[in-house]
């Protein structure tokens, strides 16, 4: 008897507390920018694809849900296809951590439910956004020592001009 009354009393007390439950979907929860939601592929400040198809995200993925194939044009590597199987993804963010170019990023969007599993297979067209995402300034090819159109050898950051191998000077 006492137990029942105590329970009723405690429940009654909660009527005066502030509500914790968010009325989703009418109200959206505030998510921090570093929330680990839907994965995107970003572009560098010059508007080029950041992904260089190095395969590190794929190998870091604990559920093996990322697959891609490298292609190359004039020294620039890019993914020929880039596929994420979101029906397998656990949003752990290991791919983002592994990415040497800040290309793959997790975003504060989790509304990805689908009725059909094939709709959860995201290809490069679905993943690639037109902005830089969380890292506005970084461009891998400005740092890396490979030659690409518009950036010759020796023009990357902290690079000396190419050596003239015919000179005899020290």
């Amino acid at each position: 008897m006492f137990g029942i009354l105590r329970t009723l009393w405690l429940t009654f007390l909660h009527m005066g507390h502030r509500r914790v439950t968010v009325g989703y979907p009418e109200h959206k929860p505030p998510l921090p920018p570093r929330y680990r939601g839907r994965i995107i592929l970003s572009r560098d400040p010059d508007g080029m694809e950041r992904c260089v198809a190095c395969n590190l995200c794929a190998v870091a993925c604990p559920v093996d849900c990322i697959s891609l194939q490298k292609a190359e044009q004039d020294g620039r590597w890019y993914p020929d296809y880039f596929r994420i199987n979101f029906s397998r993804c656990i949003f752990c963010g290991m791919c983002e951590e592994a990415c040497p170019t800040y290309a793959i990023q997790l975003t504060p969007d989790f509304e990805m439910s689908e009725y059909l599993r094939p709709n959860l297979i995201y290809e490069k067209e679905d993943l690639l956004i037109s902005g830089t995402g969380k890292y506005p300034d970084y461009s891998f090819f400005r740092v890396a020592g490979v030659k690409i159109p518009g950036k010759d050898k020796g023009e990357a950051e902290r690079e000396a001009p190419p050596v003239d191998i015919h000179t005899l000077l020290p």
């Binding site: 260089v52 190095c54 395969n55 590190l56 794929a58 190998v59 993925c61 559920v63 093996d64 849900c65 990322i66 697959s67 891609l68 194939q69 490298k70 190359e72 020294g75 620039r76 590597w77 296809y81 596929r83 994420i84 199987n85 029906s87 397998r88 040497p100 170019t101 599993r117 094939p118 959860l120 297979i121 290809e123 891998f140 740092v143 890396a144 020592g145 490979v146 030659k147 050898k153 020796g154 990357a156 902290r158 690079e159 000396a160 001009p161 190419p162 050596v163 191998i165 000179t167 020290p170």
Partner: protein, 901 residues
């Protein structure tokens, strides 16, 4: 055996090795760059620093370079010593000051020795604040990508390319930080072994260009042990595949065969597996129109055809033993052809008998390396067996080793030993009609017609042993040359004679056998090696069959109802008129092949076979070593192994005794049972039931990626991986993997901390020695009982006579282009140069590069002339198959005087 103490642990070590080798063999992780097991030590990179203590009381010790220090019994060493660690970390930090920030876009990433060594030394962040030196790259042709920024200056590339492989066009330029490895100008690397730079370079300066176009990280590719199918040497390879396509071929170490290096034809010749001409479905030709049909329809059609008379089968020297044998079961031994013309057939059949009967050794490639006098008799091994020519280059160093022993210089001290040996190399004598790549290093290089070379050979044998027949009527020059060669061979303790079937001249191989027999009789440890043309020529010789000419006779007399041709493009064997005559006399032609050959275009029924990458099988190399290749890919039906097609034919044709093979092992067992000469092929590799620790071996690295996404665009449902009954390798990353696995089954090389091919050190019993799990393959020709009394060959040809207008046209095989399958590979095709007619004396009014016409193999050809004054008179050379498709054997031709036929 000595004992060394490494960080307090007593390890056994050989006294003829250096401390780096000893430490690696003891399982220690000691970083290194410039040392290579087959290139020796030069002490250039200073990375393998360790500490040596002079005795138990010595607490200070001194830093030494492990690769430059000989093993001494009781040596006290420390790899973990803080000072040694600091030293090594310092070295790697210096090496990395100029290394570009580009691992993500470097094809070496993930299998990079520099990455491994940097991690091993613990270097993580760059302290050097100044600029990095940069270099411009060169276009090094269709095989190799060049990215000089990545260079750490270890000199391995030029040491391999120049010192080991004898290349001329790669060198070190500039000095200090600006050091540059490249050519004097852009252009394809000329050496036939340039592809090895990819594996020799510890970082990503030289990378595989065709692989880069279909790139995948090492951890993402499935591997399978395979055997190269582009010449008869039988180099062991690993085929890497992903998503149903072959991505690349790399070297698989075999102590006795190819060891650390492959030739470019083997490395880049795999492109035919995904060529546009690949056959993917059965094709029925109805009224001249090809119609794709189902497997069942194809077999029904064959059953109908089989009722029209006897079935005759034509096998192939490029098909596996299993494919040929299954065909032989379908047709019976009397109606199974070797697919060779009478001349080639007779010669090929002779080779195993000759090797067995000759008392001299039949050497493996590694065995040949220790020869101290070599005679090459009428075979351009640089193009017919390229890897063998690389071995012959190493024999020149043989004379340096006794000199090194006298000077107390260990053999691995590469620069010093090379210096000692440069004065008096071991003699290499090359007698060929045309110049070969070995000529510049040969003590004697002589140009003569094949018959004249054979006569010289007989004369040499006679000079070595008086009871051997002598060649009569030798000219004075020839006589002197025979004396010189005989003297040089007699001086050797391990002389080696090499001949082959390139010029389809029986006298040549007989002369070689005579010399080897004569040398053996003098007490020398003589060796005789005969080079056969194709990857399974030797297997075909041991299987036996009838020549093509006998098939033609059967066709003429109406004894063929259906002709089944397996993996043999007869248009390359028979000239157009002969082939037309044969096919006209055959009611039904069935072709089983993996590529759409010109013969397949004329077949009534074409069936798609699996290539070497999709099937298992056995090939017998030129020394008679049976080696198994295993599937790297599962063929997608209706593509299947030739032997499975033939077996189904046998069942469809309702033979009472149709074989019931369900896997490779069963057919291998049947072959071993039915053909005594091949009884040992069972031992070539463990069977599909092989288990390590109770599990299959895995064919994929543990960290293969994208399993749940790679085919998600097709279906999101997981499907069980297709299991092949022919291989003990599992199709996934599940299974056992250990450095102790049999050498015949190694799908890829990996050891903890060693992601690059350098992890191979962990798989060997001792560095440069046999594999820990045993070497692959089994030799079939051993155990013959040579005749006690020397049996001499007496077929000495008459002197070669030149007629005024009459030329002896010899086949001039090329490294690239004349081998059928590799020529379909795009990077190889890019290196093929147009056919020319090489002439010693220019016809009147003609000049170098001018056009000349001749009739060859029934075709009228107009070819550009290449003037080669070194050619003996009366000799002309033309690449086989390139100009006239069916041209393979020497033939007398006349040049047309004008353009009228």
């Amino acid at each position: 055996m000595a004992t060394i103490l490494v960080d307090g642990r007593a390890c056994p070590a050989r006294t003829d090795e250096n401390l780096l080798q000893a430490c690696l063999e003891a399982g220690a992780d000691l970083p290194y760059f410039c040392w290579h097991p087959d290139l020796g030590s030069v002490g250039a990179c200073r990375q393998c620093a360790i500490k040596q203590f002079s005795g138990p009381d010595d607490k200070t010790g001194r830093i030494i370079m492990a690769c430059m220090t000989q093993v001494t019994d009781g040596a006290i060493l420390s790899i973990d010593d803080p000072q040694a660690r600091e030293f090594r970390a310092g070295v790697v930090e210096w090496l990395m000051t100029n290394h570009p920030h580009d691992c993500p876009v470097c094809p070496e990433g993930g299998e990079c020795h520099l990455q491994d060594m940097t991690v091993m030394t613990g270097h993580v962040s760059r302290r050097y604040r100044f600029t990095k030196r940069t270099h411009r790259n060169q276009n090094l042709g269709p095989f190799i990508n060049h990215e000089m920024n990545r260079c750490i200056g270890c000199y391995r590339c030029v040491r391999f390319y120049r010192d080991y492989a004898g290349g001329e066009d790669l060198a070190a330029f500039a000095a200090h930080n600006d050091l540059y490895f490249g050519r004097h100008e852009d252009g394809a690397l000329e050496s036939a072994f340039s592809g090895n730079l990819v594996e020799v370079c510890p970082t990503g300066v030289f990378t595989d260009k065709p692989f880069s176009a279909v790139y995948s990280r090492k951890w993402d590719m499935r591997g399978a042990p395979s055997v190269c199918a582009h010449c008869a040497v039988g180099c062991n390879t690993i085929v890497n595949a992903r998503q149903g396509t072959v991505r690349r071929v790399i070297n698989r170490y075999h102590e006795a065969v190819n060891r650390y290096f492959l030739c470019d034809r083997g490395r880049y010749g795999h492109g035919f597996t995904s060529a546009p001409t690949r056959l993917r479905a059965p094709i029925l030709r109805q009224d001249g129109i090809p119609v794709p049909i189902s497997m069942a329809t194809a077999l029904e059609r064959f059953a109908v055809m089989a009722k029209d008379g006897p079935i005759v089968g034509i096998g192939s020297t490029r098909a596996s033993l299993e494919s040929n044998f299954a065909l032989r079961c379908l047709t019976g031994p009397d109606r199974f052809s070797t697919g060779l013309t009478q001349l080639e057939h007779n010669l090929t059949m002779q080779v195993p008998a000759l090797l067995r009967a000759t008392p001299a050794r039949n050497p493996s490639l590694h065995d040949m390396e220790s020869a101290d006098a070599v005679l090459v008799l009428g075979e351009d091994v640089c193009v017919t067996a390229p890897r063998l020519s690389l071995t012959l280059r190493q024999t020149l160093r043989r004379a340096a080793f006794p000199a090194a022993d006298t000077a107390k210089v260990p053999h691995w001290m590469d620069a010093a030993v090379r210096m000692l040996g440069s004065d008096a190399p071991s003699p290499l004598m090359v007698l060929t009609p045309a110049a070969t790549d070995l000529d510049p290093i040969a003590a004697t290089a002589h140009r003569a017609a094949p018959d004249a070379i054979a006569r010289l050979g007989f004369a040499v044998a006679h000079r070595l042993d008086g009871s051997a027949p002598d060649a009569p009527d030798l000219s004075e020059t020839e006589s002197r040359l025979a004396d010189t060669i005989a003297t040089a061979l007699r001086a050797g303790r391990r002389p080696l004679i090499i001949a082959g079937l390139q010029y389809a001249n029986a006298a040549l191989i007989h002369a070689a056998a005579n010399i080897a027999t004569a040398l053996h009789a003098t007490g020398a440890d003589a060796a005789l090696s005969l080079v056969v043309p194709d990857c399974n020529s030797m297997g075909m010789a041991l299987t036996g069959g009838i020549p093509l000419d006998a098939v033609r006779t059967m066709a003429r007399t109406g004894h063929i109802g259906t002709l089944v041709v397996v993996e043999n493009d007869l248009t390359r064997r028979l000239d157009a008129a002969t082939l037309d005559e044969l096919l006209a006399a055959v009611p039904h032609l069935v072709v089983i092949d993996h590529i759409a050959t010109r013969l397949a275009e004329r077949a009534d029924l074409v069936l798609p076979a699996a290539s070497f990458a999709e099937s298992g099988g056995t090939l017998v190399n030129t020394e008679g070593r049976a080696q198994r290749f295993l599937p790297a890919l599962t063929p997608t039906m209706p593509v299947q192994e030739s032997w499975r097609w033939t077996q189904q034919f046998t069942q469809a044709a309702t033979h009472a005794d149709a074989p019931e093979w369900t896997n490779l092992d069963q057919i291998v067992a049947t072959i071993a049972h039915d053909i005594p000469a091949l009884s040992r092929i069972i031992d070539a590799a463990p069977d599909a039931g092989y288990r390590l620790d109770g599990r299959r071996l895995r064919s994929e690295p543990a960290r293969i990626s994208g399993r749940t996404a790679v085919r998600a665009n097709i279906s999101v449902h997981d499907r069980p991986l297709p299991q092949s009954p022919d291989t003990p390798l599992s199709p996934s990353m599940e299974g056992a993997y250990s450095p102790d696995m049999p050498g015949a089954l190694v799908p890829f090389y990996h050891a903890p901390g060693w992601n690059s091919v350098q992890s191979l050190n962990r798989f060997q019993q001792e560095i440069g020695g046999p594999m820990r799990g045993g070497d692959a393959g089994t030799r079939l020709l051993d155990g013959g009982i040579p005749a006690q009394v020397p049996e001499w060959h007496h077929d000495i040809p008459v002197p070669f006579v030149t007629a005024l207008d009459d030329l002896l046209l010899l086949p001039e095989p090329r490294l690239f282009g004349t081998e059928e399958l590799s020529a379909l590979s795009p990077p190889i095709a890019a290196r093929v140069t147009p056919a020319t007619l090489r002439l010693g004396t220019l016809p009147a009014g003609q000049q170098d590069g001018g056009m000349v016409s001749l009739t060859l193999a029934g075709e009228r050809l107009t070819l550009p002339i290449r003037h080669d004054p070194a050619l003996p008179s009366g000799i002309a050379l033309c690449p086989p198959h390139l100009a006239a498709r069916a041209f393979t054997a020497p033939v007398r031709v006349q040049l047309h005087r004008d353009d009228t036929p």
